[in-house]
């Protein structure tokens, strides 16, 4: 777990004090909204459709029980008793009152948390594999690297006014659970042929209006070169990224307009200059950080209770098969707690549920928790003997839904139920699809449905096996479907299936897709995505538009990224 120094604590407290003064001055009328808005955004405070929304950074999704309990306390004391976990591994409070926000920020500072850099054209919360430090397939824990980047990028004087926001994701596993190819910079830990630790550096990925799969800018960057190399990329982007048009300001456009090879040359040139300035302080810092991310003190005990429960209890079997993942210690499991109970809002957790999770982390999970970009909560280190007890507790708190990775484990952005930028609702769509597919989802198996309420794509719809984008057609919601997207190491953007659906026709359409897959898969081992890759769009299109007249010989799917330039 990261640790604040006295310097960090003073810095965060001072920021809260300054913001308190700014809020007071806004309320007494000495600051106009125009003057105040940049201040509130710098402290993560947005004004949404019905209320203010405070976005709190959860560094690379890592929490402990103390911090989670504090989030529960904040939810009860100053909000409506719940929080919303986002695809950026953050938490959002949807109903704070302006005058209370400085108190909330102080309460966050009490547990070394803040809302700085959760808005604006700066480097945002660094995200990481939510199984970090636990996954069986991991080369190395990516969190110390994420923490190093966090420290380097927090209030970095050169990068507080970039052309646009900037998102970095890190994974330490070959199986990419951090969507590194859809970030401004993605870092994948790799070993060189000589066995040296390093990173594959991916640049210029992103979703939103112009979805792009990132390109490799360096196949193997030695570990010690990380910060100077990142600084070189940011420097070049800061210098040549467009500021004339907000829709062309992300680094993905810079890379595309410059060309990856020319962009790389500029970065390498800059890197050569600044590498010399890094004299090793960053390496000392990362060594210190690594010490604070030591492996837990694993318990050695028989795992028979787990195997017993597997044999006896079919509900536990479903949970163990879906929600428990392989830990690097074979006596342990990684427990994914679904925040996707059928019919509920994806990613929402009540304060009571947060406390249950905090208690479980403390009692059974070496006091560690993670928030996943898929809007679930992870208990990364649970001894297998304890998983049945954890499951029982979770079930009592409405948290035992065994649907991780299934059709109802849907990513959905807040959409028009909350978000001021939305063009349509996401949450009711997710809720209705989850309920409708409940009976068949086990049969369907792995299926990633992702929903965004506007083209900003916070719900990652472009990389969903089924992606849904809510649009506004003359004041009425309409939903566009994409198919075949993939958020992993084999990242791909979905293909647009055809004309959009009105809200009341969408859920049956999604069900037809699932049923079609069941019909045409080669066998039970062929996943939805594999079937799609084998057959292409045609059979799914036929299911979506049964009354459509086939278009000539066409049949070429329309790529979801064709519409934008």
């Amino acid at each position: 777990m990261y640790l604040y120094s006295e310097f960090d604590r003073t810095y965060v407290r001072n920021r809260v004090r300054m913001f308190r003064d700014q809020v007071d001055r806004r309320i007494d009328g000495s600051l106009s909204e125009e003057e105040f808005k940049p201040f509130r955004l710098m402290n993560g405070l947005y004004l949404q459709l019905h209320a203010y929304m405070l976005r709190v950074a959860i560094p690379y999704g890592t929490l402990d029980s103390r911090r989670l309990r504090q989030l529960a306390f904040i939810a009860d004391r100053w909000d409506r008793g719940y929080g919303h976990f986002t695809t950026r591994q953050n938490i959002q409070f949807n109903w704070p009152r302006l005058k209370d926000v400085p108190d909330i920020l102080d309460a966050l500072a009490d547990v070394d948390m803040h809302a700085i850099q959760t808005s604006g054209n700066c480097i945002r919360n660094v995200t990481a594999d939510h199984f970090a430090g636990a996954a069986a397939d991991e080369l190395s824990d990516p969190r110390p690297v994420a923490e190093l980047i966090r420290q380097w990028s927090t209030d970095h004087p050169e990068f507080t006014f970039l052309p646009r926001k900037f998102k970095i994701a890190v994974t330490g596993s070959p199986n990419d659970r951090a969507v590194t190819r859809a970030h401004d910079i993605g870092l994948r830990m790799v070993h060189s042929k000589e066995g040296q630790n390093g990173f594959e550096v991916i640049v210029g990925g992103g979703l939103g209006r112009t979805p792009v799969i990132g390109k490799v800018i360096r196949e193997h960057l030695p570990e010690a070169d990380l910060l100077p190399y990142l600084e070189a990329i940011l420097h070049v982007y800061n210098a040549i990224g467009r500021r004339d048009n907000k829709y062309k300001a992300r680094i993905k456009i810079t890379v595309r307009e410059t060309g990856i090879d020319a962009f790389r040359s500029r970065v390498e040139e800059r890197f050569r200059i600044i590498r010399k300035e890094f004299l090793g302080a960053d390496q000392q810092v990362i060594r210190r950080i690594r010490d604070t991310f030591a492996e837990p003190d694993y318990v050695q005990a028989p795992t028979a209770a787990f195997d017993d429960a597997l044999r006896r209890d079919p509900a536990f079997r479903d949970f163990a098969n879906g929600n428990v993942h392989r830990h690097k210690n074979p006596d342990y499991g990684i427990v994914s707690v679904s925040l996707k109970a059928h019919g509920r809002t994806p990613g929402d957790a009540s304060s009571k549920q947060m406390r249950i999770l905090a208690d479980l982390a403390e009692a059974y999970g070496h006091d560690e928790l993670r928030i996943s970009h898929e809007q679930n909560v992870i208990l990364p280190h649970v001894h297998r003997k304890d998983i049945p007890a954890v499951f029982a507790e979770l079930s009592r708190g409405g948290l035992g839904t065994p649907n991780v990775g299934l059709a109802s484990d849907i990513i959905a952005c807040p959409g028009m139920d909350y978000c001021a930028l939305a063009t349509a609702r996401s949450i009711p769509v997710a809720r209705d699809i989850a309920v409708r597919l409940r009976e068949i989802e086990r049969d369907v198996g792995s299926l990633k449905i992702k929903i965004s309420g506007c083209i900003n794509a916070c719900g990652h719809h472009h990389v969903g096996h089924i992606g849904i984008l809510g649009l506004d057609r003359a004041g009425v919601e309409n939903y566009q479907i994409t198919l075949g997207g993939d958020a992993t190491e084999t990242a791909a953007l979905g293909d647009r299936a055809g004309p959009g659906f009105p809200a009341d026709e969408l859920v049956p359409a999604i069900e037809r897709l699932a049923l079609t897959y069941l019909d045409i898969r080669e066998d039970q081992d062929e996943s939805f995505l594999e079937t799609y890759r084998r057959t292409g769009l045609a059979p799914f299109q036929a299911a979506l538009y049964p009354d459509a007249v086939p278009k000539g010989r066409g049949g070429h799917p329309e790529r979801s990224n064709d519409a934008v330039s």
Binding site: I27, Y52, Y82, T345, Q353, R425, R431
Partner: protein
């Protein structure tokens, strides 16, 4: 060609809690769309918007939103976004 004026309500968020508010008759603010003043001519709409912009110690981001008069004479929104602003989230909150 300029689009013909259609009826509007004047709406904003309240500075202190972010609540959706509407201008009601007599310069009053209301949180209910049904109590809002339906503005039926363009010059009044413009003048009221300017006045609302000057009330920045209470109102954030005032604007004119399309509305129609429903059968019992009260304003009703014509766009899903305004309907959600008026009614709050359409989902159960935990």
């Amino acid at each position: 060609m300029a689009r013909p004026f259609t009826p509007k309500v004047l709406t904003a968020n309240h500075l202190l809690d972010g609540d959706v508010v509407y201008l009601a008759p007599g310069s009053r603010l209301t949180r209910k769309l049904s109590e809002a003043m339906l503005i039926e001519d363009e010059s009044t709409a413009k003048a009221l918007l300017e006045a609302a912009e000057a009330r920045s110690s209470v109102l954030v981001g005032p604007y004119l939103a399309d509305a129609i008069r429903d059968s019992d004479g009260r304003p009703r929104s014509t766009h899903i976004r305004e309907t959600l602003r008026a009614d709050g989230p359409s989902i159960d909150i935990l």
